[in-house]
């Protein structure tokens, strides 16, 4: 894992001391809320419905067990015993006190994490494939480049006051698990015709009020030009982005209004000025950062196929968990284990302080002390010996962290919604809970197959509803919560935005509607099709009829 250097460490501690003085001045009456708000937001502190909310970055979703224990400590001592992992691989605490925040940030700085740039119009936490460095299908570990970008964009004076926030995601695998197409900049590592590794660069993707799938601005970019090219994009955005209308301020609006060709032209013109200058990434720097992400010392092991097959044959639930939650590792004898934060009836992404401590202990015992956070709000232990998988599974079962639903219908993405968030129009967590309680039959979940449901409590789309196979958006209609369904969204390498199914439904009708959609899919699907494949083949109409019946025919 990347470790702070002397500069990082000193700076982050100085920043905590500075914020402590700012909080003191605010409480003492020297600063108004208007003056203080930007200062607290720069440190990740929001004011939500019930209290302050603190968002802490988990760079590219990689955590140490020590950091996870500190998260547990914060949850236990400064919050209500739980935290919430987000779709940007961060953690949020919902019940933070302003006067305690400097102490919290001090504790976090001690383990090299911060809330800096987790809010505001700057480059936010750079996200990555949660299996980075371990996945069998990966070309290279994207975290090296995420870290380069993090260091480059951290407190960059030119990009601290962008027109709006800016999100970057990188995948090193052709199978996109980082949703790069719905980021301001998305990067896919791939090889050019000469067999050289580089990036396809996408720009202008994003969800929210005006969703867009990112467009390819450059088919192949050499890694040495990563920083200069990103800078050229940021510079064009900084100059061209709208600051007069917050709803039109993201880069996606500029890219789509001007067209990708014109935008590319501007970026290339800017890039020409800098591409061979100081921002050219030296190989030695890549090698230096790469060393932090060097794979651990693996033992020479054989795959445990036979012994695991025997255990799986004797335990149907374990078999299902193995099938979905355990992913092939690039090193023989090891496996990647997903820790589901989607138990039936629980809030997706939530985890208690005790569970955090327990996961940290399990990471130390079974996975070389490292934990990952996925943008789908689960945790991952990336270096588990296959011989110890069953033991780990039993420990996870005892913690209610072994729901065998990864990638299945109840592996729901869900924002905090109106239960916590000051921006939300409707509650999203109760919808997720209702759906997860309506689909508890593991045989049925297996039969339905790969399926994503993404729920947002407002059009800001923190729950990525546009790119769920089923998306659910909460809206407020005359002080009543309604939920609009979209079908056919996807955030993978074939990303698409969902199509609106029809009029919004009241909360009580949502699980029934999901049931009707699933039933229709099971009837019309052809052999081997996922829901998404079936939807793309048959379109909206059969599902619309299933949910709205004769009404939709009449309409």
């Amino acid at each position: 894992m990347y470790r702070y250097d002397e500069f990082d460490e000193r700076f982050v501690h100085e920043r905590v001391a500075q914020f402590r003085r700012q909080v003191k001045r605010r409480i003492g009456g020297e600063l108004t809320e208007d003056q203080f708000r930007p200062l607290r937001l720069m440190n990740g502190l929001y004011l939500q419905l019930h209290a302050y909310m603190l968002r802490i970055n988990v760079p590219y979703g990689t955590l140490s067990s020590k950091q996870m224990r500190k998260f547990a400590f914060i949850a236990r001592n400064y919050d209500k015993n739980f935290g919430h992992f987000t779709t940007r691989q961060n953690i949020q605490y919902n019940w933070i006190k302003l006067e305690e925040t400097p102490d919290i940030l001090q504790h976090l700085a001690d383990v090299e994490v911060t809330g800096i740039q987790s809010s505001g119009n700057c480059v936010r936490n750079i996200t990555a494939d949660q299996y980075a460095g371990r996945a069998l299908d990966e070309l290279a570990d994207p975290r090296v480049y995420c870290e380069l970008l993090r260091q480059y964009s951290f407190l960059h004076p030119e990009f601290s006051y962008l027109p709006r926030k800016f999100k970057i995601a990188v995948t090193g695998s052709p199978n996109d698990r980082a949703a790069v197409a719905v980021h301001d900049i998305g990067m896919r590592m791939h090889k050019n015709e000469q067999g050289e590794l580089g990036f396809e660069v996408l720009v202008g993707g994003g969800l929210g009020r005006t969703p867009y799938i990112g467009q390819t601005i450059r088919k192949w970019l050499a890694p040495e030009h990563l920083l200069s090219y990103v800078e050229a994009i940021l510079r064009v955005y900084n100059m061209q982005g709208r600051r007069d209308n917050i709803n039109k301020a993201r880069i996606k609006i500029i890219v789509n209004q001007m067209g990708i060709d014109k935008f590319r032209e501007l970026v290339d013109k800017e890039w020409e000025l800098t591409k061979d200058g100081a921002l050219k990434v030296p190989d030695e720097e890549v090698a230096r950062i790469n060393a932090y992400f060097a794979p651990p010392q693996y033992e020479t092991l054989a795959d445990e196929t036979a012994s695991l097959a025997k255990l799986r044959a004797g335990d149907k639930v374990f078999d299902r968990w193995m099938r979905g939650n355990v992913i092939e590792h690039k090193v023989p004898g090891y496996a990647i284990v997903n820790v589901s934060l989607k138990a039936a009836g629980k809030a997706p992404g939530d985890i208690t302080a005790d569970q955090m401590d327990a996961v940290a202990d399990l990471a130390d015992r079974y996975s070389m002390g490292e934990i990952r956070v996925s943008h789908r709000q689960n945790l991952v232990l990336v270096d588990v010996k296959q011989a110890e998988i069953h033991e780990l599974y039993r420990a996870l079962v005892a913690l209610e962290l072994a729901t065998p639903n990864l990638g299945l219908l109840t592996d729901i993405i869900c924002c905090p919604g109106l239960d916590f968030c000051g921006l939300a129009n409707a509650r999203s967590i109760p919808i997720a809970q209702d759906i997860s309680r309506a689909f508890t039959d593991l045989d049925e979940l297996q039969k339905i197959g790969q399926f994503t449901i993404n729920i947002s409590g407002c059009m800001n789309a923190c729950g990525h509803h546009h790119v769920g196979h089923i998306g659910i958006l909460g809206v407020d209609k005359r002080n009543e919560e309604f939920f609009q369904l979209t079908l056919g969204g996807s955030s993978d390498q074939h990303a698409s935005l969902g199509d609106r199914l029809g009029p919004g439904l009241p909360q009580a009708e949502v699980p029934t509607a999901i049931r009707k959609i699933v039933d229709k899919y099971l009837v019309v699907r052809e052999h081997g099709e996922r829901f998404l494949d079936t939807y793309r083949r048959v379109g909206l109409e059969p599902f619309k009829s299933a949910v709205y019946g004769a009404e939709s025919q009449a309409a």
Binding site: R26, I27, G28, G29, T32, E33, L47, Q48, L49, H50, A51, Y52, K80, N81, F82, N94, W95, I96, K97, L98, E99, A347, D350, T352, L418, D419, F420, R427, I429, P430, Q433, D476, N479, E480, E481
Partner: protein
């Protein structure tokens, strides 16, 4: 705020500066955590006067963003009419084991 009786009773809700807790302006110009302890405002004049008090408290760094909200009285207890404010008043509807306010 116009004079005379309000069409619906009101209360003043805010977040306390030091901890962000949701509070209600109460008799004696204090702020209470429990909505039941807050002042229910019946007239436009009273709303104007108390809102000025709340804004003064905001400038004195006691509370943030005081707001007049409509409430209805059910079984003698005030309840905000807007879902958002009801959730602020009574806490999240989920994780009630952990999040009781």
């Amino acid at each position: 705020m116009g004079p005379g009786r309000l069409s619906m009773p009101q209360m003043i809700i805010a977040n306390r500066l030091r901890d962000g807790a949701v509070v209600f302006l109460a008799p004696g110009e204090g702020w209470e955590l429990a909505i039941a302890a807050g002042t229910v405002i019946e007239s436009g004049e009273e709303a104007t006067r108390l809102f000025a008090v709340a804004k003064r408290h905001e400038s004195e760094c006691r509370v943030i963003d005081p707001t007049l909200i409509d409430v209805e009285i059910k079984d003698g207890t005030p309840r905000p009419t807007a879902i958002r404010e009801a959730i602020r008043a009574f806490g999240p509807t989920v994780r009630t084991d952990l999040t009781e306010v």
